[in-house]
């Protein structure tokens, strides 16, 4: 009754998989409607850290700083909001941040749209790749390093002032002012904007443009009446991202503004670490969160959610 053939050996990977399958089978079949939630759980828990943090900050914002002990008092009060909303300094800071957000969004959109269009419609794949690489390189270099680059260019003895001096012109102050911060922010936002606009342009068939032009519209008219309206979802998405990122930015105003052009985030930082008043810093944080949410809600209700909220069909 002996067999010459060696017994068939299960490969190790099969055995491991079988064991894993047995472990997976411990999850009872009737719980299977919950499987999706189980898979979501780690991500939900990670993001929950931010929710707890927000609750803490909201709580801090409702307690006044006791100047005797430098701790927050136990009693609830709205003093921090009162201070933040009444102070002329903070009003300037809020208006400056909002103003910069509008300016940066406008400039970035105007610059990013042609870039995205040329990139998507480029005939040669070499051109397209060159434009993509030029976009991704700065995208992968953080704000601090890029701001440092601008400091070398715009600084008192930087590239531009040296050029001016060699032409016999007096140096001009190019950093630590509003335009420098706007320039730094526009450069930072360009890759975000282009990458959000480009898919919307891809979705527009080139034959639609050809049709428009064959009916006698020149390219400006085609852009105005065909391409830009069709690209609206991408433009809305890009505007939302650029606006909120600018509104909440810290590094550019800090490094290129040099304390002269503080945004809300810089004031929050100062509230916590210079004034040692977490209550006031938290109240400013809540104001920033509110401002951002209000803007996003208003834009979404005016223009639709764009490409940011996907509505994929599920089986």
């Amino acid at each position: 009754m002996s067999s010459d053939k060696p017994a068939f050996k299960y490969p190790l990977s099969w055995r491991i998989l079988d064991h894993a399958e047995n472990v997976a089978a411990l999850w009872p079949r009737r719980w299977s409607p919950l499987t999706g939630y189980l898979l979501l759980l780690p991500a939900l828990l990670l993001v929950f850290v931010l929710v707890i943090g927000l609750v803490y900050i909201f709580d801090y914002s409702l307690h006044e700083l006791d100047l005797a002990t430098y701790r927050l008092k136990d009693a609830f009060s709205l003093v921090n909001y009162h201070v933040a909303l009444k102070s002329a300094t903070y009003r300037t800071v809020v208006l400056r941040s909002l103003g910069a957000s509008f300016i940066v969004t406008a400039i970035t959109t105007v610059l990013a749209f042609p870039y995205a269009y040329v990139m998507v419609r480029a005939r040669s794949s070499g051109t397209r790749k060159f434009l993509l690489i030029s976009l991704f390189l700065p995208f992968f270099i953080g704000q601090v390093v890029r701001a440092y680059g601008w400091l070398i260019i715009l600084g008192k003895e930087g590239l531009l002032n040296t050029l001016l001096a060699s032409l016999g012109l007096p140096p001009i102050k190019l950093i630590y002012n509003y335009p420098a911060v706007v320039l730094g922010l526009v450069q930072y936002m360009l890759p975000f904007a282009v990458l959000l606009i480009a898919p919307a342009i891809t979705a527009i068939g080139e034959e639609i443009e050809l049709a428009s032009e064959s009916l006698g519209a020149n390219w400006v008219k085609t852009f105005r009446h065909v391409v830009i309206p069709l690209a609206k979802p991408g433009l809305v998405g890009s505007a939302v991202v650029v606006f909120t990122l600018t509104l909440t930015d810290f590094a550019m105003p800090e490094i290129l503004g040099g304390g002269t052009t503080d945004f809300i985030a810089n004031s929050i930082y100062d509230g916590f670490f210079q004034l040692s008043n977490p209550g006031l810093g938290s109240a400013l944080s809540m104001i920033l969160v509110t401002l951002g949410s209000v803007f996003v809600t208003v834009l979404f209700s005016l223009a639709g959610t764009g490409t940011l909220v996907s509505r994929e069909n599920v089986r």
């Binding site: 499987t35 707890i52 803490y56 870039y115 419609r121 991704f136 390189l137 440092y148 070398i152 443009e209």
Partner: protein, 266 residues
């Protein structure tokens, strides 16, 4: 591109303006790092690699660099399973309140970074892990997680559910179908996401500023601290590390999934 010569001229002049704006800081930093002088100035004093040589002698820099790698690896390792599973769950499973959960998972983008950073600083302080390095990695994962979910979602949505049905039909138990059909199909998304998570964590500044102190400072924060004191060419050489890593990341991304992926319409 269709159209007239004026269209080409106008669009390309904007594109060239963008290209210069985008690349100028990088080029200038590269140039400044090769100076042989002791200060950053124009024209540079001459060409030398001495600042790169000095880089190896800067213990602070080396330590900050290693710490940054450490937190970026932690961030990436946490984000791969949590982000991949979340994206698959959202696309493949029956989930109630899907839209609400999607909005919830976008909270890291909608809550301002400065607020997220301070919130986590407070929490980490409360549970007494502030001042350690690994929580910084977790924090960086939290704030960038939507990138991971987005990258994987794109590939899950492109995957025909009938492939998974076919596997099940051929007798594959759920886990086997998942491991041999779903997972390989979404791999390009996982790779894109993991690369983005690593590079964003490597560059993250503001949240690290709140969560690190002088003992565990990461590279972006240490560059920021040096900018505030005095600008020397060794800082340019340190920054070149970032430029090199960005080049490697772009090359990898192009080789692994192709940059054209980002132009596709949904």
């Amino acid at each position: 591109m269709t159209g007239s010569r004026s269209k080409t001229a106008v669009l390309w002049s904007v594109v060239w303006f963008n290209l210069i704006t985008l690349s100028l800081p990088t080029i200038i930093i590269l140039g400044a790092s090769f100076t042989s002088g002791n200060i950053v100035q124009f024209p540079p004093d001459g060409f030398s690699l001495k600042w790169y040589g000095k880089l190896w002698l800067l213990e602070d820099f080396k330590a900050a660099f290693l710490r940054t790698v450490y937190v970026s690896v932690i961030c990436t390792l946490i984000s791969i399973p949590s982000g991949t599973l979340a994206a698959i769950a959202l696309a493949r499973y029956r989930i109630r309140f899907r839209t609400a959960l999607q909005v919830y998972l976008l909270l890291p983008f909608t809550i301002p970074l400065v607020v997220s950073g301070l919130g986590m600083m407070i929490i980490f302080g409360e549970i007494r892990i502030l001042g350690q390095l690994w929580p910084v990695g977790v924090a960086l994962c939290v704030i960038n997680l939507p990138f991971m979910i987005w990258a994987v979602s794109a590939t899950v949505n492109a995957l025909d559910p009938d492939l998974e049905n076919a596997a099940a039909n051929c007798g594959a138990p759920p886990l086997q179908a998942f491991l041999t059909v779903t997972l390989p199909a979404v791999m390009p998304g996982v790779i894109t996401g993991a690369l983005l998570m690593f590079i964003l964590a490597f560059n993250e500044f503001l949240v690290s500023l709140f969560l690190t102190d002088a003992r565990i400072v990461t590279l972006p924060v240490s560059i920021y601290n040096s900018i505030r004191s005095v600008i020397t060419p060794d800082l340019a050489a340190v920054s070149v590390v970032y430029i090199v890593i960005a080049f490697v990341a772009v090359w990898l991304l192009d080789r692994l999934v192709g940059l054209e992926l980002f132009l596709r319409s949904k």
